[in-house]
């Protein structure tokens, strides 16, 4: 099966669990919005999936391979890509160099730059000199260049104006239409649900809603209750 499965995962930080027995499946071509209040454990969940932090219990599977004990590098080689919170660019590298890290070939770099004309104009600039929106574009473009099967995106909008963020969202949709399974953690809940097929709401480390994103968007009361963990 070409999906990413998270089975009853528990993540512990410091004194106690921040994620408790959470499970779901990411399927190719679908976007799943992972939303919830601040401190709900969304980032910890993503980090456990990609191997930044270990899972205390439960398991993660990429296709038929259990990767719970695999390194981050091994998971990346199986097609998992994780865009971290903040602007995870390499500031001392130019735009081209950032892309070359994952694209591997120059034709692929050109292909990706064609999708991001703003970056093409600044291809030789160090990414430290780009605006916040442009830096986030570099991060997206870099992930896109790797052709990931599974993409975890953590708070892409952090520190960006909503208008900038709305320009980036169509690129996420494009990833999905090309076959990637995407888990989208986002503070702009309505925007995230708007582009997603599936939704998971996490509150105090537990799943309080799991189902259709459009159903959740259509029933604000359900969303409100899920946020409050009711």
């Amino acid at each position: 099966m070409n999906a990413l499965q998270v089975r009853d995962i528990t993540v512990t930080r410091g004194a106690g669990p921040v994620i408790r027995e959470v499970g779901f499946t990411l399927e190719p071509g679908r976007i799943t919005a992972l939303v919830g209040p601040n401190g709900a454990g969304k980032t910890s969940l993503l980090e456990a999936i990609s191997g930044v932090v270990p899972a205390a219990r439960g398991s993660v599977h990429i296709g038929d391979v259990e990767v719970t004990k695999h390194s981050r590098v091994a998971r990346a080689k199986l097609g998992l890509s994780h865009i971290e919170q903040g602007r995870a660019v390499f500031p001392g590298l130019t735009v081209l160099e950032n892309l070359k890290l994952t694209a591997r070939t120059w034709p692929r770099v050109d292909e990706v730059l064609a999708l991001f004309p703003e970056l093409d104009k600044r291809r030789n600039s160090p990414t430290a000199l780009l605006s916040g929106g442009e830096q986030q574009m570099v991060v997206l473009a870099r992930a896109f260049a790797a052709r990931p099967k599974f993409l975890l995106i953590d708070e892409m909008s952090l520190g960006l104006a909503p208008v900038v963020f709305t320009r980036l969202l169509p690129m996420v949709t494009r990833f999905a239409t090309e076959g990637a399974a995407i888990l989208l953690v986002e503070q702009f809940t309505h925007l995230a649900l708007g582009v997603s097929q599936d939704a998971i709401v996490v509150s105090s480390g537990r799943v309080t809603y799991q189902g259709s994103a459009q159903d959740l968007l259509a029933t604000p009361q359900t969303l409100h209750s899920a946020y409050l963990g009711e």
Partner: protein, 286 residues
């Protein structure tokens, strides 16, 4: 004084190579490696032992010693990459101080505390300038330091391997999440710098104080040279090493100042640290 400065150039080349190694370590694997020259010293001492006591030809013993220096450094790199991968640069560097002391102590236990009977790998003059003789050791160390700095710059700037190393040095976790294997790359950097340090020490050690402490403490003038480039710039590290070596050589020619040569690296370190904390930089830092 010119004779002294040129005589100091051999040591300068040694400082420059070690400074380049320190700079690479600091930039790429986030460590100020205080054991940089100690691993080289230990490799060289084993080489001398194999040559003098085990009857191995000098060249073969030297090759074994250089490989051992590289392997020791790689082992240290593997330990730090495995158990201190997420630690800050201060903690990682502190571990190398412990290794420095360990290697000095181990060399005292295994080889005694006297200088070793090194067989020179290179001997004799290369050429003379206005009657001042320039030795083969001087030419080789200076050329080696420049070649290593130029080679590393090209490697980092123009190859995929160098690009991955630079990415790793800036954001190790992000690099790993993209599939860049942090540990093997870091261990490779440790191994190569260990090999280079041992190589250059094995060239210069026969012609200078070569007791275990003196060789291990070569890291001090090398750090002074690396500091000139802010532990970032390879070209300034080379210049710093060569100038420091020449200055020490020149000062040694003046009887009333000869003792100062031993303090010169410390004076340079203090001077550069004070300069880096001058008013405007201090304001920015705050």
């Amino acid at each position: 004084m010119l004779q002294g400065a040129l005589a100091g150039l051999a040591a300068g080349g040694l400082y420059a190579v070690l400074a380049v190694c320190l700079t690479l370590m600091s930039r790429l694997v986030r460590v100020v490696n205080f054991a940089q020259s100690a691993t080289g010293m230990f490799g060289c001492y084993v080489a001398v032992y194999l040559s003098v006591h085990a009857g191995l030809p000098t060249w073969a013993a030297t090759v074994v010693g250089i490989l051992l220096g590289g392997a020791l450094s790689a082992l240290l790199g593997w330990i730090i990459s495995t158990w201190l991968a997420e630690a800050d640069i201060g903690t990682r560097s502190a571990v190398t101080v412990a290794v420095l002391l360990l290697l000095i102590s181990l060399s005292f236990i295994l080889f005694g505390n006297k200088p070793q009977p090194f067989h020179p790998i290179l001997d004799g003059p290369a050429f003379s300038v206005n009657g001042v003789v320039v030795s083969q050791v001087t030419v080789v160390t200076v050329v080696l330091s420049v070649a290593i700095a130029v080679g590393c710059r090209a490697l980092l700037g123009r190859t995929s391997f160098g690009l991955e190393l630079r990415a790793l040095s800036e954001r190790p976790t992000t690099a790993e999440l993209m599939g860049i294997p942090a540990k093997p790359l870091a261990v490779a950097v440790w191994a190569v710098t260990g090999l280079l340090s041992t190589l250059v020490i094995s060239i210069v050690a026969p012609s200078q104080s070569n007791d275990a402490t003196s060789l291990s403490m070569l890291v001090v003038p090398a750090a002074a040279a690396a500091l000139l480039g802010g532990f970032r710039r390879l070209d300034l590290a080379v210049v710093g090493g060569l100038v420091l070596g020449m200055a020490q050589g020149a000062v040694a020619q003046v009887d009333s100042l000869s003792v100062v040569r031993y303090f010169l690296p410390f004076l340079v370190i203090v001077g550069l640290l004070l300069w880096s904390q001058r008013k405007e930089v201090w304001d920015v830092a705050r």
